[in-house]
């Protein structure tokens, strides 16, 4: 496991342009020793799932601040499954109320980070919870 660097896709779905968080996370993960692919803004769930498969990533981090998290997270998970990539860990962050975070975890989102989470927490979580895909 140590010989393969984990590859993480940082993705920004939805129509909003709030990419401050996504960029900071992408940079922190890269500084934390992971290979990071950043999609840029305005991605559809299809574009994200497709990029995850093509780039052969081990995890997808979604940054959502538009309020559309209950639509977008499940959609990405469903599309990954359809592409035979159900084992890609999906995590995310943004303005996500606690009760929604609980529901999202039931739907298969591995972790939700809300405002105030430090980049260190996120890097640590990825290190401890994401495994390289076989």
């Amino acid at each position: 496991m140590a010989d393969k660097r984990l590859r993480i896709l940082v993705a920004k779905p939805g129509l909003d342009g709030h990419d401050r968080g996504a960029k900071i996370i992408a940079r922190a993960l890269r500084d934390g020793g992971f290979e990071v692919v950043y999609t840029g803004l305005h991605q559809t769930p299809e574009m994200i799932a497709e990029a995850a498969v093509q780039e052969d990533v081990d995890a997808v981090g979604l940054s959502i601040l538009s309020g559309a998290h209950m639509t977008l997270f499940p959609e990405v998970i469903k599309l990954l499954k359809e592409r035979g990539a159900a084992d890609v860990a999906v995590f995310g962050g943004g303005i996500i109320p606690d009760e929604d975070a609980v529901k999202l975890k039931e739907m298969g989102v591995r972790e939700i980070f809300t405002p105030g989470a430090s980049t260190e927490d996120i890097v640590k979580w990825v290190r401890e919870n994401v495994q390289a895909r076989q």
Binding site: L15, R20, H42, G67, A68, T71
Partner: protein
């Protein structure tokens, strides 16, 4: 008495100093003390009295003694009738002007029934797809008496056309319609990231609107040159100031190049700043902004009308400064930020609601935010005298320094060939991302503090009520849009859209053809599709 240097080396050195970094939130280090030695320039040149060039102390002769700032709370959610009800509530509570928040599909030029609108209809603002939504949104609002601000950029031409058609239908002549449309596309590429087409054609549409409004809607501000989003994206105060002024320079250059005399449109250019936590830095930034703009308009563009040189501005407290943790603390942050805005001499102000980091504001939260402004205006006494910080050694020294550093940025952008070129190479985008990352690291290292987040945090928190948007709203709006598309005269719509296409190609001003398309019930998405086809689609380069 000792000189400043002697004082620093003796009295100050012998006194104790806390082991912290004495720097602004933008990480500008401050000296322990400012004295008359730190302040340059003569009173007449650098400051002058309010209402006099270079307007450092205020654009109007009597400032808040003549008229208080406009209290203008940004509002929009759900269907047009939901937002209309909030508008009427805000006006009944003493608010002076309206400010409209649109949802993401509207802001990005998609109809509510578009695939990409799924899950986003009415969520971050009000959904407006056709003229019918706009009619409902401004139902029973007297457009000749209430001024309206609309925060929309890449689809701004369509929304302005809709507003003017509502006025037309209500019998209000366009020359009596007043308000502002944000329409600042350059800062979209730099910071807010709502776009349809690449920078160059986007600029052309903005200039079309500046030209159209100068001729037909003289009380309208066709562009609000905005630093707000640049700051929210993580810039420093100096970057916010510099990039915004550089954007302004680009708009003025483009309009002048088209042959519009500068004094014909410049008096209607307005600005929009962010008011962040660092009190002294913000007051100084606003004062520096006025002086810079006045000098640039006079010296660089040869403006003669004093109104062309006056930087009149709206401001909003910093959304990014609000915390999800201990949200009631946000009331205090907002009050202090708003106070800085008032000391900075703004013309219009939005105070954020304490719950805005969690959701769109509840009526109760927005009322507290409005009351905050009313308390500042009518209880604190700060409006009794103009620019009370003027002459403060620290504020004047900071004002000079911020102006100097922002001017240096503008010089670099000029060297690159102007703001469009700078954007194409990603220069301002990278500078901002760098500053955002630097601040995040300072937070995590404890060099900077956010109360309740990285210091004084509490494990258990009382949740506050937040506004929930009913998911059924989306389905209702989608059905409405489909019904309109079924029932309207589709031949008339196609003809009108073809006229918009032609104008895109010929270079003719786009506003008249867009107005006609809107009258014929063409939608935001359909007109935006014309832009996509004619001008191309811009994609995020995804720079980290």
């Amino acid at each position: 008495m000792s000189s400043k240097r002697e004082w620093l080396e003796t009295t100050y050195k012998q006194a104790s100093e806390r082991p912290v970094r004495f720097s602004t939130i933008s990480d500008m280090e401050l000296e322990p003390l400012y004295t008359p030695d730190d302040v340059g320039g003569s009173y007449d040149d650098a400051l002058a009295n309010p209402g006099e060039y270079p307007y450092t102390r205020g654009v109007y002769g009597s400032m808040y003694r003549g008229r208080l700032w406009t209290m203008r709370q940004f509002a929009g959610f759900g269907l047009a009738e939901d937002t209309n009800a909030r508008f009427h509530y805000l006006l009944s509570q003493g608010q002076d002007g309206l400010s409209t928040a649109f949802d993401m599909p509207t802001l990005m030029g998609y109809d509510a029934d578009h695939e990409r609108a799924k899950g986003e209809v009415g969520r971050e603002g009000v959904s407006v797809t056709s003229i019918h939504d706009m009619v409902r949104l401004f139902d029973r609002i007297p457009l000749d008496r209430v001024t309206t601000s609309m925060t929309v950029n890449c689809s701004a031409s369509v929304l302005l056309a809709m507003y003017l058609v509502v006025a037309e239908r209500n019998g209000v002549p366009w020359d009596r319609v007043g308000g502002t449309i944000q329409n600042d596309m350059l800062k979209e590429f730099i910071a807010q990231k709502e776009w349809i087409c690449p920078p160059q054609p986007s600029l052309r549409v903005v200039t079309d609107m500046i030209e159209f409004c100068a001729r037909k809607v003289p009380r309208w501000h066709a562009v609000s040159i905005s630093g707000y989003h640049i700051r929210e994206a993580g810039s420093t105060a100096v970057q916010e100031l510099a990039f915004t002024i550089a954007d302004g320079i680009c708009y003025v250059e483009d309009a002048v190049k088209r042959g519009i005399p500068v004094d014909d449109f410049a008096p209607r250019l307005s600005f929009f700043w962010n008011i962040h936590n660092d009190f002294l830095e913000e007051v100084a930034k606003l004062r520096a902004a006025r002086r810079m703009w006045a000098r640039i308009m006079k010296e660089r563009f040869g403006a003669r009308n004093p109104r062309s040189m006056m930087l009149r501005t709206h401001a909003q407290t910093a959304g990014a400064s609000l915390t999800a943790q201990q949200p009631v603390n946000n009331v205090v942050r907002v009050a202090l930020q708003a106070l800085a805005g008032v000391f900075g001499g703004v013309q219009s102000l939005h105070t954020n609601s304490m719950d805005e980091t969690l959701a769109l504001p509840t009526e109760q939260a927005v009322t507290v935010a409005l009351r905050t402004q009313q308390i500042i205006a009518e209880e604190t006494g700060v409006t009794n005298t103009i620019d009370p910080f003027g002459g403060s050694y620290a504020i004047e020294a900071l004002t000079d320094r911020i102006e100097r550093e922002a001017t240096e940025y503008i010089r670099r952008i000029d060297e690159m060939g102007g703001m469009i070129k700078a954007i194409e190479t990603g220069y301002p985008q990278r500078e901002i991302a760098e500053a955002a990352f630097h601040y995040q690291r300072q937070l995590e290292q404890g060099i900077k503090t956010i109360v309740g987040v990285n210091k004084y945090s509490t494990p258990e928190e009382l949740p506050i009520d937040t506004l929930k948007i009913d998911p059924a709203i989306e389905e209702r709006q989608v059905q409405r849009v489909r019904k309109i598309k079924r029932e309207r005269n589709s031949v008339a719509v196609r003809e009108a859209l073809a006229r918009v296409s032609e104008a895109c190609r010929s270079g003719e001003n786009l506003m008249e053809p867009i107005l006609e398309a809107v009258r014929r019930e063409a939608t935001v998405g359909e007109i935006s599709d014309v832009f996509r086809a004619e001008f191309g689609v811009y994609r995020d380069p995804g720079w980290i």
